[in-house]
């Protein structure tokens, strides 16, 4: 298993963003669904080693990120796209991707090919020499994806990767996720259930810091059977049914 999580919590002051999550994931595309404030981004940030957990056990790629050496080894094999990608406006696309390839300690001799391949895979070949300040929001998102995959990561964490992409780009991106998921564990946090249906082999649904469903997209669809859950698509109805059930047990506002 590339991701092994047991009893993981993460607090920010008095707020508990992640409240005792158990999760394991091997190669494949893993979708993380949930409403705003469910704790998805905090989960991804912990898995990206950006913030430490408050308690619980976390193993990534068979290593404990609590120690300096293992954490560095994990980070060499990690790709991360934050929800809000910060970028240096004066960098070109190629310079930006190259900078993070070097910080990920991709061997220098391999960097040029790795950078060019990542840029081609995200369809930015024609923009490789464009300054980041000249790009649209969708293109910047693809630049973020390019830096995330430049080291051919074994664990790829993507927070709202399709936000800002047009339908055609979204279809291409789902194909890219499936490719990556053949060898790596890809964890995608998204609001778009179409992404889950099209690309994910497994899905977890978070609500109030907890995982309230974990299974395949087909199993999520089946949760809507016999309910009057709202939604325009089968996955949306499954999503609504699971959330409604979780909220009825906690008494939370729907």
């Amino acid at each position: 298993m590339n991701v092994e999580i047991a009893g993981l919590t993460r607090r920010f002051g008095r707020t508990q963003a992640v409240a005792g999550v158990d999760l394991s994931a091997g190669p494949g595309v893993f979708g993380l669904l949930g409403p705003n404030g469910a704790g998805k981004t905090s989960m991804l940030r912990v898995m990206a080693t950006v913030i430490p957990p408050s308690s619980g056990r976390l193993r990534l790629l068979g290593r404990d990120p609590g120690g300096y050496g293992p954490r560095r080894e994990i980070r060499r094999r990690l790709g991360y796209l934050p929800q809000n990608l910060g970028y240096y406006p004066s960098f070109t696309v190629a310079e930006f991707v190259e900078y993070f390839a070097l910080l990920k300690e991709v061997p220098p001799a391999r960097v040029p090919v790795a950078v060019a391949t990542a840029i081609e895979r995200t369809g930015l070949g024609d923009k490789a020499r464009a300054r980041l300040r000249t790009l649209s929001g969708g293109m910047l998102r693809r630049v973020g994806i390019a830096q995330a995959i430049v080291n051919e990561p074994e664990l790829l964490l993507l927070d709202e990767p399709t936000a800002g992409l047009d339908p055609e780009q979204r279809v291409a991106f789902r194909a890219l996720m499936r490719e990556c998921g053949e060898h790596a564990t890809v964890v995608v946090s998204t609001h778009l259930v179409e992404d889950v249906g099209a690309a994910c082999t497994e899905v977890a649904l978070m609500n109030q810091g907890k995982i309230v469903f974990h299974g395949t997209p087909a199993e999520l669809i089946a949760r809507a059977d016999g309910t009057d859950a709202a939604g325009d698509a089968p996955l949306e109805r499954g999503y609504s049914a699971v959330l409604a059930a979780a909220r009825s047990t906690t008494g939370a506002w729907a």
Binding site: P82, N84, G86, L102, P112, A116, R121, A128
Partner: protein
């Protein structure tokens, strides 16, 4: 996805990789002399790149430093007072505070997930800022005809002011707090030295202050390192 589509995707990926390999030659950037030398010295091409890109990431600071020190050189020529020597530590402290951190570095969150630690990136950026400011300050001092003792006398106080700004910025996680601490610290030092010694330039010309400056800088560096250490967390 059926077998045909899967094969198609694999073939497409192969084409993309081949195209990437071909394009790599076109896009490849040859590191300059400074970057290659820094890479060997720091034993990390990533840190070397972070070092040489620092001035371009902090362009407003670079321009402000050049303007302030240039004006200081002009004023020194006019008044005969070593204003460059007194301005350089404050300018460098402000630059150091803005070298890195949440709210300042746009890619800070991404940097936190990199194999080369953000603490090391912070240190090389601080070094880059310090080196550029030292070079600008020396040039301004030389241009204004300041005495050699004063020209070099401000380098140690500048180290202390920079270390204070860095420590305050990293502890408070605020560049503005770092700037405020650096400027306030240096102003207090200049004024209190003047009161104690009676000379306007006492803060930069009194050799008895060198050791206290260095000790203070060392303490501030330890604080900055502690504040930026990677959290161990629970696992």
């Amino acid at each position: 996805m059926n077998a045909f589509e899967a094969r198609l995707e694999t073939e497409l990926l192969k084409v993309v990789r081949e195209r990437g390999a071909a394009r790599a030659q076109t896009w490849a950037r040859r590191p300059g002399l400074v970057e290659r030398a820094s890479g060997r010295l720091l034993r990390s091409p990533g840190l070397a790149r972070a070092l040489v890109t620092t001035p371009s990431l902090l362009l407003p600071w670079l321009i402000a430093s050049a303007v302030v020190l240039g004006a200081g050189a002009g004023a020194t020529l006019d008044t005969g007072r070593p204003l460059v020597a007194l301005l350089a530590p404050a300018v460098a402290a402000a630059g150091i505070a803005y070298a890195y951190g949440p709210g300042i570095d746009p890619a800070w969150e991404l940097s936190r997930s990199m194999a080369v630690s953000d603490q090391m990136v912070l240190l090389v950026r601080a070094l880059g800022v310090f080196a550029v400011d030292a070079a600008l300050g020396l040039a301004a001092s030389a241009a204004s005809g300041t005495a050699v003792g004063i020209t070099f006398g401000w380098l140690v106080p500048m180290t202390a002011a920079c270390a204070l700004a860095l420590a305050a910025a990293t502890v408070a996680r605020s560049a503005n707090a770092g700037v405020a601490a650096g400027l306030a610290g240096w102003t207090i030092m200049v004024l209190s030295s003047q009161v104690a010694d009676g000379r306007f330039t006492a803060a930069i010309s009194n050799s008895a202050l060198i050791l206290p400056y260095l000790a203070f800088a060392a303490v501030c560096c330890v604080i900055a390192l502690h504040a930026t250490r990677a959290p161990r967390g629970t696992s």
